[in-house]
Amino acid sequence: MSGFKNVAVVACAQTELRTAWSSAQHVDLISSTVSNLLKGSGVRLPDVDFVIDSGSDVLDGRSISNCGFLGAMGAHHKEESRVEEDGLWAAVYGATKIAAGAAEIGLIIAYSKPSESDPSLFYSSQVEPFYQRPVGFDHLAASGIQAQQYLLQGGGREADFAKVTARAWKRASANPLVQVEAILSEDEIAASAHVAPPLRGAMMSRPLDGCVAILLASRNVADRISPRPAWITGMGSAMDNHAFAVRKPGRLEACEAAAKAAYRRSGIDPAKASLAEVSGSSAAGELMVLEALGLSRRGQGFEAYEGATAINLSGGALPADPIMATGLVRLAEAYRQLSQPADHGLSSPDTAIVHATGGVGMQTHCVVTLGV
């Protein structure tokens, strides 16, 4: 295995992802996740050198919201930083800290409770306030236009959107960590109302409440914590223009750039990866991500599901999008699949591609590759 192999994922814990954790507040979800993480790992909190967390002030309804959650996170008197982006970026930050030799064990936490507010405001408030926001341009509009342009320019097929969605929900229903009340059939999805044509309601990712935490460890200690550490072999991220209308239509250039950086570092050929956990904010978005990651040909995103790489065995982000935690959940899922392959119907997986996205119309992307 190539790549830098200095840092590994050695443990993860997660709450169930639910439409609403109305019985718990943020600190309850966080402290319970972190406690469960430590309990299973053999690591004591004093052994943890730093905490990096992801959450959003706008979603939380508090300014500097990490400030009030430090005790629950186990961060008291530790080095702590808040990355106000999906938790996969927090994991990347943590990995650089361990790679620099400054720490042995890092705790990465991400959470969201979109049920406490209107998550559409979380996105529309990201839009620049002079030209785009007053027009009503938001995440939904961006996703709809993006899907249309994908069909026109990228060569994708509209019928695939319902197929992708149905597949994701079916997978999620088998995932004990995702609350699924009813599985939608492909026909039901294809018949559901448009929210941003060509996208229909079920084709947008579903915001859920939840918290996830992972432990990262250095080469010196990883093997002592996990029987099967998942080494971080490559990391890359890239952001596209804010102005949606100037982005290249029909493809995700920033995702391509992030993947290229991660693959260059790890030396992996994406076509040979054992598994991938990716975050699409819509059915079209998931297909575009698969193409940008090199898991299928351009315009043929759906063929990725039929290839050698196991794609989103967890169900991915469409049925379960805990906004700031979605990408870190992907990392946790990939770790579980690599470390307990039999539970996921895998034989001997050795490489994983993990992807996260953020912003209106998936403006920014992060790719991490893992190897065991």
Partner: protein
């Protein structure tokens, strides 16, 4: 076994909270001129000196080269649809204004969604009453025969709009969770202040929580603490600001209730405010004055007031 978050059924409705934030936003030169010129029904774009590329609406920085040498130009009111969708906000489209190198996001008006096609020619529809907003263009309507316009020099232009009022309302419904839920139930129903035992030092943590911040082990049993305590820190508030609950002057205090190892934030009243800084100081003993309301929140305590000649209990 950790109990939260699924331990106690909480039937308290969530805490409603609204953040209602006023702003005055500065658009900067390009957007500022654009917004100032809509009253003249001029569509302002910008051309980058280094890349030669034209943006409509005008940007201060070239989306391609990042260049800042932007010349403002007058753009035609016509263009073609490059992409579109329909949301609750209406039909939203990307439009390539004639002569521009980048698209413009706006609404399509005066057309059925089903009739739209990429490539369709459109023209701007101006609002009757300008408001120095992008919505001074109501949207773009189909104009199949509109001639192709060209980018022209802007010539004399209005001064950029220096600032624009804006308002953002964010609404929340915060779940109480089992620990805060029980504490506020006890306050509302039984007029009783309860915390949980710290597993770091001897005493009660308020608000209660599942895990002690310092020992990071599960906290202990619930304990009732009296509604008396000691001021640990205080300030006399004279500042007035938006969102303030009561008119100044008043005393902001951090009070350690007897038996607690954390501080509670509240106000202190019932004193001569002209001598506030003498009468209330770290060490001053205070007691809660309960209000008649039973809302199950900290406001069920109207305020705290000093207890003359009282002495802090020795054991905390």
């Amino acid at each position: 076994m950790l109990q939260a978050p699924d331990s106690y059924p909480i039937d308290r409705p969530p805490l409603k909270s609204t953040l209602s934030m006023p702003y005055t936003l500065t658009p900067g030169r390009a957007a500022g001129v654009f917004l100032a010129e809509t009253k003249n029904r001029r569509l302002v774009g910008s051309r980058c000196g280094s890349s030669g590329l034209v943006c409509v609406p005008a940007q201060d920085f070239c989306p391609s080269s990042g260049g800042a040498d932007m010349e403002l130009v007058a753009a035609p009111h016509t263009g073609a649809i490059t992409g579109f969708t329909q949301t609750r906000a209406g039909i939203i489209a990307t439009i390539r204004i004639d002569g521009a190198d980048f698209d413009f996001v706006h609404r399509i008006v005066g057309a059925e969604f089903a009739a739209l096609k990429v490539g369709m020619r459109v023209e701007a529809v101006w609002a009757q009453t300008p408001t120095q907003s992008i919505m001074d263009i109501e949207g773009f309507r189909p104009a199949p025969d509109a001639p192709v316009g060209t980018i022209e020099p802007l010539g004399e232009a209005a001064e950029p709009l220096p600032m624009k009022p804006y308002h953002m309302d964010l609404h929340y419904e915060h779940a109480f969770g089992p620990f805060y839920g029980r504490m506020f139930d006890e306050i509302g129903t039984n007029r009783r202040l309860m915390g949980v035992r710290s597993t770091h030092i001897d005493g009660a943590l308020l608000p209660p929580r599942e895990v002690d911040d310092i020992s990071y082990t599960k906290t202990g049993t619930w304990v009732t603490v009296p509604d008396t305590g000691t001021v640990r820190a205080m300030s006399v508030i004279h500042l007035e600001f938006k969102g303030q609950k009561e008119p100044p002057p008043y005393i902001y205090a951090e009070i350690q209730l007897d038996g607690a190892v954390t501080r509670l934030i509240h106000s202190i009243k019932g004193i001569d405010m002209s001598r506030a800084s003498e009468l209330v100081k770290p060490g001053t003993r205070v007691r809660a004055v309960w209000s008649d309301a039973r809302t199950g929140s900290l406001s069920d305590i109207s305020h705290f007031q000093p207890i003359p000649d009282d002495v802090e209990p020795t054991s905390t």
